[in-house]
Symmetry: C2
Subunit: 120 residues, 2 copies
DNA sequence: CAGCATCCGATCTGATACTG
DNA sequence: CAGTATCAGATCGGATGCTG
C-alpha cells in the first residue's frame, strides 16, 4: 500500500500493512519469549515453509521489528529477536487474541450460516 | 489460511486472517461511528476502488462482522453497520493505532536505513 | 543449518463496462 | 447508486534444488 492518502483518523494503516502477511503476526508472537533460531521457529509454528519463513523474517528485519544475529561457528548459527517496536506489537496482538477467545465462535457460526443459505 | 494446525498459544491466527485483506481493517475502522452507505465509505476511505470495497464488505458480511441493510426506495439505498464482533475488533484496532503513534517513525527510519545500506 | 534462486498456482487489487 | 462480470497485472505462498 505504501503511503497513500492517510485518512486522519486511521494511522492504523501502517500497522495493518506490517501485519498483512499470512505469517507475520504468528512469527512475532512466536518470538515473544525470547530469541529463536529459524529451525526452532519452524518447529513451533508448524505449517510454514522454509522459504516463506525466511521471507517473512527478511521483511520484519527490513521494517526494524526483528534483529538478526549471526554467530561465527562451525554449523552456521543464527538467532532472531524482537526489537522494541516488535515487542510493542505484542500488545495489539494479545488484544487480537482476547478478541478471538470471545468471538471466534460467532465468526464460525456466521460462516456456517452463510454456507447453508447459499448451499440450497 | 482456513483451519490449519492451530498452535495452542496462538489463537490470534483467526483474527489475523480476518484482517488479512488490505482494506478490511480500514473499512471496519471507518464504520466505528455508525452505519454508512457504500458511497460514504468510499469517500471517507479514499483510494479504494468500487469493486474492492464491495468485495471487502461481502467478506465482512460473510464472517458476521458487518450487517447489510437494504431499504426499498427509489434510488437503491444500502447501509452497512458493525455487528457485536465487528465492534469488538475496534479494541485491537485502536491498540494498533496507539502502536503506530508510538513506533511509526522507528519503522520508517529502519526502512530508510535498509534502503541506504543496499543502495550503494 | 541457513539462505537464495526458480518455477508454478492461487489469490488479490484495480480498471472498465454492464445490469437493476 | 449499488452490484456483478471480466480481464490484466502484481503479489504471495509453497515445493524443489543448489550454495556456503
Amino acid at each position: 500500500m505504501g503511503d497513500r492518502e492517510f485518512t486522519a483518523d486511521c494511522q492504523t494503516r501502517l500497522a495493518l500493512d506490517l501485519l498483512s502477511g499470512t505469517w507475520t503476526g504468528v512469527v512475532l508472537w512466536a518470538l515473544r519469549d525470547g530469541p529463536l533460531r529459524p529451525g526452532e521457529l519452524r518447529a513451533r509454528i508448524g505449517g510454514i515453509s522454509h522459504k516463506v519463513l525466511t521471507g517473512t523474517l527478511r521483511r520484519l528485519e527490513h521494517d526494524g521489528l526483528v534483529t538478526r544475529r549471526r554467530y561465527a561457528e562451525a554449523p552456521p548459527r543464527v538467532e532472531y529477536a524482537l526489537t522494541a517496536p516488535g515487542r510493542g506489537l505484542l500488545v495489539p496482538l494479545s488484544a487480537l487474541g482476547r478478541w478471538t477467545e470471545r468471538y471466534a465462535d460467532d465468526v464460525l457460526d456466521a460462516r456456517d450460516l452463510a454456507a447453508e443459505v447459499s448451499g440450497r
